[in-house]
Amino acid sequence: MISESAKKTSRAAHAPSGRSSDLQGLGEPVLVARGLSKEFRGFQAVSGVDLSVARGSIHALIGPNGAGKTTCFNLLTKFLAPSSGEIIYKGRDITRTKPADVARLGLVRSFQISAVFGRLTVLENVRIALQRRKRGDSFDFWRSERVLHALDGEALALLEEVGLAAYSAAPALSLSYGRKRALEIATTLALDPDMLLLDEPMAGMGREDVEQTASLIRHVSVGRTILMVEHNLSVVAELSDRITVLARGRILAEGDYATISKDPRVVEAYLGARHD
């Protein structure tokens, strides 16, 4: 599978949309983790991970199931407290920051399992994010929700960006899986985050949806930094500037696709995982 995807890479590298060409122009590190570790009752899920994500890049985190990728995301966005290590975002120590405040700093995550507000409409899903960004806190329980209609236009524009405008009045739970994921991206974009953490944005999608989502990610990556967990290696090869391979909670290799796909330890980790 690795070698097959590697062929695709070389093709992607020549494609006009390939990002590898502007790799040199990438900025300073925007998110840095040092010695990040997490232990669950004696089980070391993540150990001593050093990660540095360059501003404006698409950085992929790959590795077999159970490698600790989601745990890493939870640590970086403070949904889990690290057992040790530190996290710096935009030069600021966020190791003790609360998850909602991390989001307010512009570091926004998605979830491996699709996360929409099911009984809210599609429009309301996006609007709730706009509400948070534009109004700050909403403790005004005495005011009519009609004031939120001021945000409808912008919410609809975001839905149009991901092709969901036609479903704006439908409850989010009625959407197909792929559309739910598109809605999540629109909701995340409503926060206008500087950095996105996407946990397996294409898991469970058919080939067509994968292609749509890949171009959507490339589209939203303009002016933003993206850290992404993804199993679809051809997508990873096509999209990412830099790849970190995680196995058993440790970093196994790091580099661009050409480098890591030739790394024998990476090949072994993937083959080993497939034998399980």
């Binding site: 979830f111 329980f141 092709g163």
Partner: protein
């Protein structure tokens, strides 16, 4: 998702998204008008004292349901707010000689303060732990009421004067008293509807639907939960304070855990998370207690059997079942 990143869909979808709203609003207004009409008509058919008891408990259940249905928090100690406020308003009316509206406001404010404390302590816990902490703290309030001087121990505060509303209207007249209780109930109901349909309510719904996602959007979830907890406590207190004035009595029954249980029952029977379900639930539970009184000690068993039947037949409560039927 074949249309992701395609050309923008036609803007004709916008009117669509609003087309639904008027229908929902009409249904809403219809129900509200129905309730208002019932408030006017019922005293001619039903014993007003019974009605006032139902209304006090209905407001209590509405307050509880605000927390459970929209905050996603199951409190097992709401009697602390209901009963605590009853004691304070009874004391304010009897000892301080305040007008009934001022006494009720004192009770509500006391519950608000109690809500800040209990909420702050409990809000960080989830599910059953939250329920246990609210129960434990409510038991503390119960023992405080048992021990404190001003609560009158086992006797409670008796002979609370009803007084004159705003110093003008004599509440000794049951019709005037009823008008006040109905007005308080209606104001409470409208307040809750406003909370639910406010920007705050919208944030609450998002948190209820997916707490982790709401957090990842930057909502400081605990603060919203604390805020809705305090609102719920204040409204529960308003109900309890009013009850003390109506029955001229605040007693240990009001702060007893069984009262916390009763309000849960009302909400479940009426339909948890439905807007108007708790009102129906309060009617059923209070009605059963009144009309099944001749059964004496058997009351609990008969009640229990009826509830079990209800829950089996209508797992979503009466109003939940009705809503499902009309939706079809």
């Amino acid at each position: 998702m074949s249309d992701v990143v395609q050309s923008p869909a036609s803007p004709s979808s916008l009117p669509d998204s609003r087309a639904k709203t008027p229908k929902a609003i009409r249904l809403y207004l219809g129900v509200l008008l129905g309730i208002a009409a019932a408030l006017v008509a019922l005293p001619f058919a039903v014993y007003p004292i019974f009605l006032m008891k139902v209304l006090c408990f209905a407001l209590f259940a509405l307050a509880f349901n605000l927390l459970l249905g929209f905050g996603g928090l199951l409190s097992f100690g709401h009697a602390a707010f209901f009963g605590g406020a009853a004691y304070v308003s009874a004391h304010a009316a009897k000892v301080w000689g305040l007008n009934p509206e001022a006494a009720i406001a004192c009770g509500a404010l006391a519950s608000m303060g109690l809500g800040v404390i209990i909420g702050w302590l409990a809000i960080r816990r989830q599910g059953i732990y939250f329920a246990m902490i609210t129960l434990a703290l409510a038991q503390l309030v119960y023992f405080a009421c048992l021990q404190a001087k001003f609560t009158g121990g086992e006797d409670g505060v008796q002979g609370v004067p009803r007084g004159h509303l705003f110093g003008l209207f004599n509440l000794a007249d049951d019709r005037v008293l009823y008008a006040m209780v109905a007005a308080i109930f209606m104001a409470g109901l409208l307040a809750i509807l406003r909370v639910i349909h406010s920007p705050f309510g919208q944030a609450l719904k998002a948190i209820r639907e997916n707490e982790a996602r709401a957090t990842s959007l930057g909502f400081r979830v605990e603060r919203y939960k604390l805020a809705v907890f305090i609102l719920s406590a204040t409204l529960a207190g308003t109900a309890g304070a009013t009850k003390a004035v109506v029955f001229q009595l605040a007693s240990l029954t009001d702060v007893h855990w069984a009262t916390s249980g009763a309000v849960i029952l009302m909400t479940l029977v009426g339909g948890m998370g439905t807007l108007f379900g708790p009102i129906v639930g309060a009617f059923v539970v209070v009605g059963m207690e009144s009309y099944l009184a001749p059964f004496g000690a058997w009351l609990t068993i008969v009640e229990g059997l009826i509830f079990v039947t209800c829950v089996i037949l209508f797992p979503n409560g009466f109003v939940g079942a009705l809503a499902k039927k009309t939706a079809r």
